[in-house]
């Protein structure tokens, strides 16, 4: 492959796989602004599918972690996520509290395992 194409390839992939499949829904919304409402069955179903995909991504990022997170044991990653989630539920459903507690458990546990 010629070098210019090599440099541009990741951006081409970004447009084909990231931009277009996502933007098509905004464009459709713009074109078909009337007709469908939030209660229509196809919208309800698609929102459930979208939620499940997002849940899948969350599980993937925690269970099959990448980079430096992969060096922290699985049990600690899952445990920290559980602690953060319980804290989130307990303290007024605050995302900030959930993330702060999850991170604190993960980092503290990581330190404890290292020493």
């Amino acid at each position: 492959m010629n070098p210019a194409l090599n440099d541009l390839w990741p951006y081409l992939v970004l447009v084909l796989v990231g931009f277009l499949p996502n933007e098509v829904w905004r464009a459709l919304g713009l074109v078909l602004a009337r007709g469908l409402n939030e209660q229509s069955e196809i919208v309800v179903w698609s929102r459930a599918v979208a939620t499940a995909i997002l849940a899948g991504v969350i599980a993937k990022l925690i269970v099959f972690a990448s980079g430096d997170l992969a060096n922290i044991p699985l049990a600690l990653r899952v445990g920290a996520a559980a602690c953060g989630f319980v804290a989130f539920l307990a303290v007024k459903r605050s995302v900030f509290v959930g993330v702060a507690v999850g991170e604190a458990v993960l980092i503290a546990g990581g330190f404890w395992l290292m020493h």
Partner: protein
């Protein structure tokens, strides 16, 4: 819906600046900063460049889609699988655009003027648009919306780069901690957004099914998780509705 203005801007550029200020005056800007620090770290972890990260933030402009894209491509998944997962996660943008356009569209509004506000529609800008736009006169809503979107986007680009370079320079344990922000924040935010049983069931099933599919190396795992868990939850919801 009221057309009387609670606050009136002198010009459309003043409305734009008002939108930027609105973006920086809520707690969302903090959530967004944390999320995009996480996404930046994720992009670094999966070997993407800082400029690719920045371009992807601007053109995708949907946190979940961007994370799916990075995780799917970065873990060696096929382009088709990544595109399917991204488009399935993008479906939710459709009802958002549909529900916000009536607020933006006036008598003389050209469709081309609605392109940018439509692109800015993502969870945060959508929620804030529904909350703030009705208080503005109609001709100021589009510039206000563009200003708000620009404010959030600029924040996200900068936070993404901060996360990217932090991940490159922090000790491994803390860099690992950065990568943990995204799943932790999205777990909480998705739960908060899932008020109905249908959404909660889809969330729980998705969390459970994905690791099983990954464990058995099932291809297109995200797509099957989404369609399987989402449809099952939808089915339970329909049966429950019918038996009422």
């Amino acid at each position: 819906m009221s057309t009387t203005a609670a606050r009136h801007y002198q010009s459309s550029s003043a409305a734009f600046v008002g939108g930027v200020k609105a973006a920086f005056s809520t707690v969302f800007v903090l959530v967004m900063t944390g999320t995009f620090i996480g996404i930046g770290a994720l992009a670094h972890g999966y070997g993407f460049s800082a400029s690719w990260l920045t371009v992807s933030t601007v053109v995708v402009w949907a946190g979940p889609a961007q994370i799916i894209l990075i995780a799917a491509l970065g873990s060696g998944g096929s382009m088709i699988e990544a595109a399917i997962a991204v488009t399935l996660s993008g479906v939710r943008l459709f009802p958002m655009v549909v529900s916000v356009l009536p607020l933006l569209r006036g008598k003389g509004t050209r469709t081309v003027d609605l392109l940018l506000p439509s692109h800015f529609m993502a969870v945060t800008t959508w929620m804030e648009s529904l909350r703030l736009l009705p208080h503005l006169p109609r001709d100021e809503r589009i510039p206000f919306c563009n200003g708000m979107g620009s404010g959030y986007m600029a924040t996200s680009v900068v936070a993404g780069l901060v996360g990217f370079y932090l991940a490159a320079s922090l000790p491994p344990l803390f860099a690992g901690g950065l990568l943990f922000i995204t799943p932790m924040a999205f777990l909480c935010m998705t739960t908060r957004g899932a008020r109905a049983l249908l959404q909660r069931l889809a969330l729980v099933l998705g969390l459970a099914i994905e690791p099983i599919l990954m464990h058995f190396h099932v291809g297109l795992d995200l797509m099957w998780t989404g369609v399987g868990a989402g449809s099952f939850a939808y089915l339970v919801h329909r049966i429950r509705e019918a038996s009422r």
